[in-house]
Symmetry: C2
Subunit: 326 residues, 2 copies
Amino acid sequence: MASIKDVAREAGVSTATVSRMMANKGYISEEARAKVEAAVKKLGYRPNRAAQQLRNPGSHIIALIVSDIQNPFFGELCRAVETFAQKRGFCVFVCNTDENPEKERRYLELVGQEQVAGVIISPSSQGLAPIQKLQQQGIPSVMVDRQVSSGFDAVLGDNIRGAHILTRRVLKSGYRRIAGIFGKNSFTADERLAGFEAALEENDQQALSIQRVPAFEAEGRKAMERLLITNEKPDAIICSSALIATGAYRAIHAAKLSIPEAIGFACFDDPTWATFVKPELTVIQQPASMIGETAAELLMKRIADKTRPPSLIRLEGSLIERGSLR
Amino acid sequence: MASIKDVAREAGVSTATVSRMMANKGYISEEARAKVEAAVKKLGYRPNRAAQQLRNPGSHIIALIVSDIQNPFFGELCRAVETFAQKRGFCVFVCNTDENPEKERRYLELVGQEQVAGVIISPSSQGLAPIQKLQQQGIPSVMVDRQVSSGFDAVLGDNIRGAHILTRRVLKSGYRRIAGIFGKNSFTADERLAGFEAALEENDQQALSIQRVPAFEAEGRKAMERLLITNEKPDAIICSSALIATGAYRAIHAAKLSIPEAIGFACFDDPTWATFVKPELTVIQQPASMIGETAAELLMKRIADKTRPPSLIRLEGSLIERGSLR
DNA sequence: GTGAAAGCGCTAACAA
DNA sequence: TTGTTAGCGCTTTCAC
């Protein structure tokens, strides 16, 4: 790999001139410029980033650390972040932690070393310490989807309100034996559960049953099956995520229960299959793109001004009424 | 940020000793080790990657450049690559090009500068030049899902054979007016089309109609609608991807055509909704995880030995027979 | 408008 | 076992 010295020699100028020319800084005679350009081309010279970074730390890279790259929510979020960042001249590196705190720690450390301009992260519950370290290094960061501590920038879905709205909608249809299947060890599931219970309480109701399970399809199915063999069966179900809903729906289907008559069904997220089943599913759609874009924008602001006070932004999802509730 | 000098001074040793200690190289007395460790902790010292990289180029990062991070196929592939790479002590940065050759060029250049250990890429059709540049820089790379040129490592789905199998299956059911809706400007769609036509020809048939459209749901729907208003309607449809199939299926549904009697339906990919519709969809499932893992493994091999001859690996998908064909 | 030279933080000979 | 030193490739004064 040709270095700046090689170019300087080839062009018959000093390295300083080459450097100035590469960075478009300072004065350069047309003659020198032409010579350097020719040499650069001839040698296929590309400045060494490591050396540049050693001299002037910083980069135009944003790290986006997500907990599950296969989750369509994060897919949509990634895309939104990317699009916004590109517009501002930043590139995005996406890292997948698989909800694994150890991987998360590794990636956080890695991006710290790589001197990224900022990081957007959906932190695991144990993620506070590494993020604080990031702050200490002076690397701007914003959390998305989950908040592990206040005092940092964060962009979240309004889970409580979303659950509240969805639950009220279920009640409005006259369902009274309402069961919920919610994720376990999950920030969003906790919030959604809180909204669910609050809405119930405000209407002097209480949940028939609340199942908390790992957010996998199989678990959603098992939970639903459990619900279906009890003496007092639920007449409506709320699921806290698409994966859980997928399993729960299959169980209902297998039991040949008619929706919405025998049982009402509603969930968070809006998977493709929601409009393929009959009746179609009533859901709270998460504003994933909006969250991503907002987070990217917030990060840019913090990069520009590290002293601004942290903001917490809540973005509302929308209730999409289809036919799975009476 | 504390530097190695600060640590050396604090510990009362030379920078060389600190360096050796950080890298676990060479001999260090217990005493020195303890002093350095204390100083490191006290100062919160972290080696500067840029400086390290300047001295010893290279990293343990793999770049995974995908054309559409929202596509579940790539989601699954990412995860597989990640899992394999982590096992070998590598981290993965995922970049999303959105099928945009300009973004692709930028990312390829970026990861070249960042001196990643290797790159796995699903290249756009214009992606040859930047990849060759990568090779010149000596950065190992392997292509997945698409091949833009031979002479490089590549791991691909066996699209031709997959389409061949699927088409034969359609023929076996006695369908004879078979139409195909295939992606446009797409390597995989081209291959699938070739397999489709070959299978037809081998059975002395020919396609009733071949639609080539951008791979979006709306386009799939429009193509299907077009097919449905012709005089001679197809009695079976093959779609080259999930997104196209989604739209096509909606059009069939809207037209109240019964599957598989009035019209047979089959497609590539295995979206969640494939088992939510009745009858469930017969599909060719792509071996996304397998492709990802194989690509990661191949990349490791090339990193270890840059002179090995390039391999081209074709991985078969599996025909999943459900009820959408007679 | 240009060049000489110092130095970013680190590592690897080599000498002690 | 440890320290001294040179230098990785680049940018940036500062003097010419």
